[in-house]
Structure formats: C-alpha cells, structure tokens
Amino acid sequence: MNAIECNNLTHYYGKKLVYENLNFHVEEGSILGLLGKNGSGKTTTINILNGFLQPRSGECLIYGENTQHLTPENKARIGFLIEGHIQYSFMNIHQIEKFYSGFYRKWDKEPYWELMSKLKVTPTQKISTMSCGQRSQVALGLILAQDPDLLILDDFSMGLDPGYRRLFIDYLREYAKSKNKTIFTTSHIIQDMERLIDDVLIMDYNRVLAQKKVDDFMQNFKQFYFELVDGSIDFSKEDFIANVEKVKNKVEIYTYESDVYVKSFLAKNGIGHKNFKKVEMGLEDAFIGLTGKY
C-alpha cells in the first residue's frame, strides 16, 4: 500500500517548466528523502502534496485521496512540518498544545511535554521569542502528539545547530520505526538524511534522477578515479556514465556499472589510463556525483 502516490505531475510557473510527467510513490512505513538542488521543485512537490498548489496536470494521492481536496479525516492522519518550523508563534507552549488538542482524536500530549520539559523555556514565553532549535522541538512535539500516520517534513534541518539536528533525526527515526510511520522529507543537508531515510528520490531540473532504497543506491552507484594518458578524450556522451568530472587528465566518473565494465570499456576503446581506483562515497558525494556540482 502506498501512502503517497504522484502520477504524471506536470507544473509550470508561468512559462517556466518545473517538471513534466513526474511519477513517484512512498510506501507505507518507509522514510523517503526528497533530494534536489535549489529550484529543482522540492518545495513545489511539498506544496502540491499539502494541497497548497494545483499542478498544471497530473495528481497526487495521499491514502488514495487527491491532495487538492483532502478530507478532514485524512488530514488528521498527516503531520506537516513547514519549512523553518513555522508555528503560531503568538502562542506559548501551553496555548498551542491546548489549541491543537481540540482537532485530533488521537491527541497524546505525553511526547509533547516530554520534549518541552527538556527546553529551557518559561510557561508563558511566546514561541516567537524562542530560538530556532527550541521552535523546532515545539513543532516536532506537536506532530508527535498528533500521532499522524504520515509525516511530511519540509526542510526540517533549516536553522538548526548540529546538536538539535541530531536530536531531531534520532528522535524521529526511533519514533517512526517503532510505530510504523511513513515519512516524506526534504532537507538541504544531505548528511542528515543518511541517518534517517530508507528511500531516496533525487530530482534534477525537470526530471527524476533516481528513486531507490538508499542502501541499493549507495551500493550500485559508484565513483571511479583514473588519470588519462591523453587528456583531450571526452566520455560524457556515453550511456553508462551518469556524470563525469574532469580536470585536465584527472577523471572522476559516476556510474551504476561495475569496475570490470568500466575497465573493459576503456580497453575496448583503446583509452590509455593509469591509477584506476574505486572511490568510496557518502550520500552527499553520491548526490553531487549524480546531479553535478552546478
């Protein structure tokens, strides 16, 4: 069963194409990270998922319902963290808990107060006067208390210092895994994602570059380094190569193929090279490798 299913999404801002015929889905119980450079349509996708944007064509379904008109029952199953941990900052932590508790049948204030007890805030302190990190804990606490089945987190790491980021991720993963929650998240700090996500969806301008299990992706996507004898040779047009970074005769190629395949390609085409080696990558390296530095 898919928690999220997007079919043939196409959207433009004015005449500028964001993406065309985008398809992806998120299985129930999985944690999916949406990666993409700025402007590749991450926020657009989040907005469509939350019903704040009507795509030019195509549709997104959450638990089988079009996100353009989600029923209240369905919305109660979705926890939503807005980019920057935006909340009703004119309230204090008591008021905001009281406010939200009126909306959700399954409201469980325990996890909220557990998080709040760790914050050094006064009971009457308005959220607007809190630090970014404290605000993120309030926003997270509210989502946990709501006990949703699907969490949509838009750039949760924004403005958080490393400690809070780690706290946020660990808490979240533990929570999601123990209660079989589905998470759809974006973040511009990819290192964070590595600790959190099961699946990765990588977007580039106008298209999807990859949707895979993170483990599969990390296993299959490889970087090879070698030095060319003749620095003028160009490989970038070859099908098996996802990306090439080349400085003079030093080459890094990114590919889903094995070292055997690459070596035989080089041999078959009589390309002289030396110092051939496989380079180990983190998720961030792989992301940059796939999408390019620019």
Partner: protein
Amino acid sequence: MWKSVIYKEWLKTRWFLIIYAAIGVLAVGRIFLKVQHDFTFNEATNFWYVILFQGYQYFGILKFLPALGGLIIAVSQFFPETVNKRIKLTFHLPIVENKVMIIMMLFGACCLLLTFGVVSLFFYGLSIIYFPHEIIHGALVTMTPWFLAGLAIYFLAALIILEPVWKFRFLYALVAVAFIPSVFFDDTITGGYSPANPVLFVLVIIMSTALLFSGYRFRKGEM
C-alpha cells in the same frame, strides 16, 4: 474543533479588541460629556434646535470609529496568518478549509458586532436621558451606514490581507477605496440614509464571504 479555532482567533485579537471596545465606550462618554456641557452652558432647547433643524450631529465623532474597528480586527486576525504563510497551518487542520475561514470570519464579525452593540447600547442608554426618540432615531439611522462600513471594511481587509499576490492586493484595495467612501460615506444629512440602509445591509452580508476568494487563490498556489 470550532472552539479551538475561536481560541486561536481570541489569542490574536483579544488585546486589540479590548482596547478598541474601550476606545468606543470612551468616545460615547466623550459625546455625552459634551452634551451635558452644552446643556449647562447653552440652553437645552437650543441644543435640540440645532440637531432638529440645522443638521448638527452631536454623535459625529463616531463616524470613522467602526471603520477603524473593522481595520484593527482584520489586521490583528489575518496579518499573523500571512507572516511566513502561516495560513498553511490553518489550512492543514483537519477541518474543511472554507469552514475554518468562515469560522474565523464569523469570529471577527461577531467581535465587531459585539463592540458595536456595546457602543450603541451605551449611546442609546445615555441618549434617552437627554433626547426624545425622534432625535435618537435620526442619530441611529445616520450611524447605521457607519457601523455597516466597519463590517464592510473588515471583510474587504480580510480579503486583501489574505490575497497572496501583491498586484491583486493593490487592485482589491482600489475596489475598496472606490466602494467604501462612495457607498457608506456619501454626503448626507441626519436621517438621510434611511432608504439606503437595507440595501447596504444586504451588500455587507454578501461581502462576508470575500475572504474565501483570496484563501482559495492561496490554496491553488497563486504567487
């Protein structure tokens, strides 16, 4: 759920509302301080005369008070929703989007009606000490478009504040600036608005749904 919505609206508006209601009551107090003063220093009969036959409006300082109230309540209620597009949180609540907006609108409208009611009752209560019902009736007929303008401004301000595109905010404001002064504040004499008041009432009712339009535009991703 509507109780929670109202709780949020109350948190946003309470101080503005209380201060505004206090201003309203003080304004009425000021009117009758002057009436009392003029009754003492001038003769009561002359005071009645200038009201009945020379168009003097002893309640004139109330003219733009409801308009001010409409603006204050609308800004205090909807401006915090637009900061960082916080309205997304409201739309994400497990309640039909239009219903949330209607509850918010009804809350603001009821706050205004309540303060207008308090101000009018206070005004009426003091008026019957000094004036016969002909004078009071004329005053109330004259004040009706002012109060209705307060509601109209509230509805239009909500529309403008919630609109996501600046160009359209400007255009809506243009409509409001054309509409409010020429319809609610046209040149008049005491009691002159009596034929127009029922129509104004209907117009104000139909304007009450205005915020649904800009809310919908927000949800469809206009920017």
